[in-house]
Every structure is written in structure tokens, then in C-alpha cells.
């Protein structure tokens, strides 16, 4: 069974959804970028890195080398949001698939656009982080972690 349910896949594929990825550098400095190309392919989170010298590329290489993790935040237009944690497992930098994506990106965004790598993230956990959902969860799990005037 897929780790992603169809509802989440639909949200991720919606063009109005905001998709960000958080990585950590070799020196432990966190870094967050938005990746609108992020989508799901065969149970993997996939996105395109367009700039070879980008910090996200450097951090992902560091993660794939040292078994590091990344966090992906998904914010739907109705404000529901999800957190996916995962592990980079593959970076495609050449080959027919790479060339197809390269051409498609240029056809869509213009001739200036480069493609550096297609990254594949294997998901480890998925959790809804929407405020209402989390609030209800906490209330059920820890009913007495509250201010007294709310009891």
C-alpha cells in the first residue's frame, strides 16, 4: 500500500499548494526553499533542482552521503498542512529521463532554465500539521496540558 493517500497526492499536485523542503548543511545550518516542481512518483517525493551551485543541492548531497534526513512541508490553499520527513536516495543528473525533463522545463519556462538534478526522497513519516487537527489530537492525548481557564 502506498504511504501517500490519494487525498495528499491531490493536494501535492495542486498548483496552488505551497511546497517547501528543509535541509541541513555540512556545518549544521538549516536551509528552507520552496519547490513547486515537487510531486509524487512511485511512492517517492520527486523535485527538480535547477541550480547546480544551490545550497539545497549541496545539503542534499551531504544527506545522501551521510544518511541524513530532510523535511518537506506542504501547505494547501485551504490552509491544511502536512509534514513529510524522508531520506534522499537518488539524484539523476543525466540520461534520457533527465533530458526529457530538461526539454519540458525549457518549453514551459523558457530557454534560460537549466536543470541540475532530479532528486528522489524516500518518505519515512507523514503527519498532518494543520492547527485544528493537531489541537484536537493534543486535547485527546493530553487533556490536562492546558491553562486553567480553559478547563
Amino acid at each position: 500500500m502506498s504511504i501517500f493517500n490519494s487525498e495528499l497526492i491531490k493536494i501535492i499536485e495542486d498548483k496552488d499548494t505551497l511546497k517547501s523542503i528543509a535541509t541541513v548543511s555540512r556545518d549544521g545550518i538549516p536551509h528552507v526553499v520552496y519547490k513547486q516542481s515537487l510531486h509524487i512518483e512511485e511512492d517517492m517525493v520527486v523535485f527538480y533542482d535547477l541550480i547546480q551551485s544551490s545550497q539545497v543541492n549541496k545539503n542534499l548531497v551531504n544527506s545522501i552521503w551521510f544518511n541524513g534526513k530532510v523535511a518537506i512541508s506542504i501547505l494547501a490553499k485551504d490552509k491544511r498542512n502536512f509534514l513529510i520527513t524522508g531520506r534522499p536516495v537518488k539524484s539523476v543528473t543525466a540520461g534520457k529521463n533527465f533530458e526529457n525533463i530538461y526539454s519540458k522545463l525549457q518549453d514551459k519556462k523558457g530557454k534560460e532554465v537549466e536543470l541540475s538534478a532530479i532528486w528522489y526522497i524516500e518518505p519515512i513519516t507523514i503527519r498532518e500539521e494543520t492547527y485544528e487537527t493537531r489541537r484536537k489530537e493534543e486535547q485527546e492525548k493530553y487533556p490536562y496540558i492546558r491553562h486553567l481557564d480553559l478547563i
Binding site: 555540512r26 547546480q52 548531497v61 537518488k90 543528473t93 540520461g95 526539454s103
Partner: protein
């Protein structure tokens, strides 16, 4: 199955596991790459069945004089991190010093196996470029004239190295000229007309290539030493330049060490962006023994001086230097111990890197037909220790040679390490 000539070799040196545990700040998958280059690799029947010459670049395509056997092995592997590993290198397949790793295909995955245990996996074999399916106007495959790596297009301009004109003067680890002679070839250079046809076809493939590389054997003739070599490269670079609208295009030349006049001519008359001249061995005395032609015709100090001078012309980050790392421990005149070699090599390397020159150091495999063919290369520990030190120095002096990095070459694995900074 290929079996090592010394059945006890594993007892005499640290294993892959030992080295991975010892250097936890170095990527384990990268250490494996180093060791594959050191020990060589072979293919299981399952892995052979996955080689598809209609899709993959196999050794019949590239006319590479660094491999003697035309045996259809893949030209290279694509690592999971998106870097490349050249796999067409020669090693002693009859009596190697160490057992090679075995490539297998198990449960839908390409894996690397040692002593029956899976030690790593990778994405697959290099794909061939579209122009490998086409022929030149003389009916020869275009791959006769120009070859390709996953993102690099390359041409070996001079197939013969004239340091071998005096038989005892060729570099002792190098199989280029002995292989050229054994192949029965007579033309040292291909007709530029067919090279042009190959480039014209290659450049049609969108998203495939990011760099052009020129290299070849040394030519000593001319008014000044290497003048004729310089002219042959200028001629080809000018031809390639016609395909681009701007003055410069992403390109690298690996050549003999040109003097300042020659370097300026090269820079001004062509669109070249990156210059490489190989110091080969990081020690004057060992260089003299291992590369006698280079030592006699120019000398270590002058080779190094010219290398450093080229930074003033091509700029910091646009000059690299190759080496055949490990030959400094060859017998009988190499260093006596890996510790002694390490100290000397690192000190000498810093005197080069500190000028903004990154080191594209290759791993020495005693190659069939080379003078050093029956020697034994150093331990994996030595290579990782030296590369680790080079990397620290390269980070300190910020050399970043993007045009000679993990996605252009696939041989000198040391420069992969700069991907995280």
C-alpha cells in the same frame, strides 16, 4: 571469475569496512568508489544481461586507448548521488593483485558485491549519446572521432605521445602509446572534417552535454617545445568554437605544460575556459624516475611553474592538475612507506593547491602494457587519507573547478568531495 594472484592479500591491508569505520567524515559510498577504481570490477551474468548496447555506452563505442580489451563492458556507472564512475579502465584481468568487485543485478537493483556480500548499489550504466548511432560521411561511426561521458563530449586529439620517441622516456604507468602501437594504428590525429561532423551531430542533443574536453599525447616538436601540440589543439578548439555564438564555451584542455606565450595564445585565440596540465607525481625525484620524458624535456620545477603561471591567464578555479596517485609508492624507487609518501605528497600538494589549483588526482591501477604493469598499488587507507587531506586544502584555498567536477569527469573521484561546499 577473476581471482587475485595473492590469495592472502586481504590479510595484508585494511578492508573496505575498516576504512569506512576509520574515516566517518568521508562518505561510505565514495570510499567504495575509490576502492572500485583501485581493485577493478567485473560483471555477473545478470549484470551482463542488463547491458544493452542499443541504450548503454559500451566499450566498443569509445575508441579509448586506455583500455586494451574491446569487450563491451559499460563505459561507466551512475552512482545514486548523481555522480559518475568510469568503468572502462584496464586492470590485470588474468592475475590481478587483488580481487575485483563484482557488479550484479539482484531484485531489480544494480549492486556491488564483494566476497558474496552486497556492499553498495547504484543507478545504472551510462547511456550512450544519440550521435553514437550515426556515421560520418566516410562511413565510419562518429564515435571513432569524438567520445562522450554522461555530460561531457571529448576528443583525443593526439593518439600518440612523443615522449615515447625515446623508448625509455614514456611515463611508467601510462599505456597510451604502447596500446597505440599494439593496435597497429598509423594516424596520430583524425581528420578534423569528421570531428566537425561528430560535434555537429552531438550538439543537437538537448540537455546532454555541459562541457567539451580535449586531450591527447604530447607533441614535442615546433619552434619551441610543444608548439606543434599547441597548434593542433588551437585548430580543433577553433572548429568547435564555430558552434557557439559567444567567445567562450564550457571547455577543458588537458595538455603538456605550455609556457606563458603559448598559454596566452591558447586563451586569446580560442574559447577555452579551463586549462589542465598534469603534474602526475607530487615529488621531484619520483617524477624524474616515473616520468623521465617530462623530466628530461622540461623538468618538474618548470612543469610546476608553468602550471601555476596558467592561473594568471585562465583564472582561479579554471586550472586543475592531474596526478596518478599511488605511483609515488612504486618499487624500487618510490617512497618506502605510506606514511612517508603521505607527508611528502600532502606538503607538495599544498604548494600547488594554494595557488587556486584543484587536484584531479586519479587512482593508480598498474595497467597492462604499462611499464609498471606488475606492481601493486597502495592500500585503500592511503588513498582515502590523501584525498581527505587534499579536500581540506581545497576547501581552505577555495579552488572550486566547476568545469572539472563530478558531473564532467567520472574518473578523479577526489573532486566529488567539493559538492557539499
Amino acid at each position: 571469475m577473476i581471482v587475485a594472484r595473492d590469495k592472502e592479500w586481504r590479510k595484508k591491508e585494511p578492508s573496505l569496512d575498516d576504512v569506512v569505520k576509520k574515516y566517518q567524515d568521508m562518505p561510505a559510498s565514495w570510499i567504495l568508489k575509490v576502492d572500485i577504481q583501485r581493485r577493478g570490477l567485473w560483471y555477473s551474468p545478470n549484470a551482463v544481461a542488463k547491458i544493452n548496447p542499443a541504450i548503454h555506452a559500451v566499450h566498443q563505442d569509445g575508441k579509448d586507448l586506455f583500455r586494451n580489451n574491446v569487450d563491451f563492458v559499460p563505459e561507466g556507472l551512475i552512482w545514486n548521488d548523481g555522480s559518475y564512475l568510469i568503468a572502462n579502465f584496464d586492470f590485470d584481468q588474468k592475475n590481478p593483485a587483488r580481487d575485483p568487485y563484482v557488479i550484479d543485478y539482484i531484485d531489480g537493483k544494480y549492486v556491488i558485491v564483494d566476497e558474496g556480500k552486497i556492499v553498495g548499489d547504484f543507478q545504472g550504466y551510462w547511456e550512450k549519446p544519440d550521435f553514437y548511432n550515426k556515421k560520418a560521411s566516410n562511413g565510419q561511426p562518429l564515435s571513432t572521432y569524438v567520445q562522450a561521458r554522461p555530460q561531457r563530449i571529448e576528443v583525443s586529439v593526439n593518439k600518440y605521445c612523443h615522449f615515447w620517441d625515446c623508448p625509455s622516456e614514456g611515463c611508467k604507468y601510462c599505456p597510451l602509446t604502447p596500446s597505440y602501437k599494439a593496435s597497429g594504428a598509423t594516424e596520430e590525429q583524425d581528420d578534423i572534417k569528421y570531428m566537425r561532423e561528430a560535434f555537429a551531430e552531438a550538439f543537437k542533443q538537448r540537455g546532454r552535454f555541459t562541457q567539451v574536453l580535449l586531450t591527447g599525447g604530447s607533441i614535442l616538436s615546433g619552434k619551441e617545445l610543444f608548439d606543434d601540440e599547441l597548434e593542433s589543439y588551437i585548430r580543433v578548439l577553433k572548429m568547435i568554437g564555430e558552434f557557439f555564438s559567444g567567445k567562450r564555451f564550457p571547455s577543458q584542455l588537458i595538455s603538456s605544460a605550455f609556457n606563458e606565450r603559448q598559454l596566452e595564445k591558447l586563451y586569446n585565440e580560442t574559447g577555452l575556459t579551463m586549462y589542465t596540465t598534469d603534474i602526475e607525481v607530487f615529488n621531484r625525484e619520483k617524477f624524474k624516475w616515473i616520468c623521465p620524458g617530462k623530466a628530461n624535456k622540461l623538468g618538474y620545477d618548470e612543469w610546476k611553474r608553468r602550471l601555476i603561471a596558467s592561473v594568471d591567464i585562465f583564472g582561479k578555479g579554471n586550472v586543475t592538475s592531474g596526478a596518478v596517485l599511488g605511483t609515488e609508492l612504486a618499487t624500487p624507487n618510490g617512497f618506502d612507506s605510506e606514511d612517508e609518501a603521505f607527508e611528502n605528497v600532502v606538503e607538495e600538494a599544498e604548494s600547488i593547491i594554494s595557488h587556486g589549483i584543484a587536484l584531479a588526482a586519479n587512482i593508480w591501477r598498474p595497467t597492462p602494457k604499462s611499464i609498471f604493469q606488475n606492481q601493486i598499488s597502495p592500500t585503500l587507507d592511503y588513498y582515502v587519507r590523501v584525498y581527505r587531506e587534499f579536500d581540506k586544502l581545497q576547501r581552505k584555498y577555495i579552488t572550486n573547478p566547476y568545469n572539472d567536477d563530478f558531473r564532467r569527469c567520472g574518473a578523479h573521484v577526489g573532486l566529488d568531495l567539493m559538492r557539499t561546499y
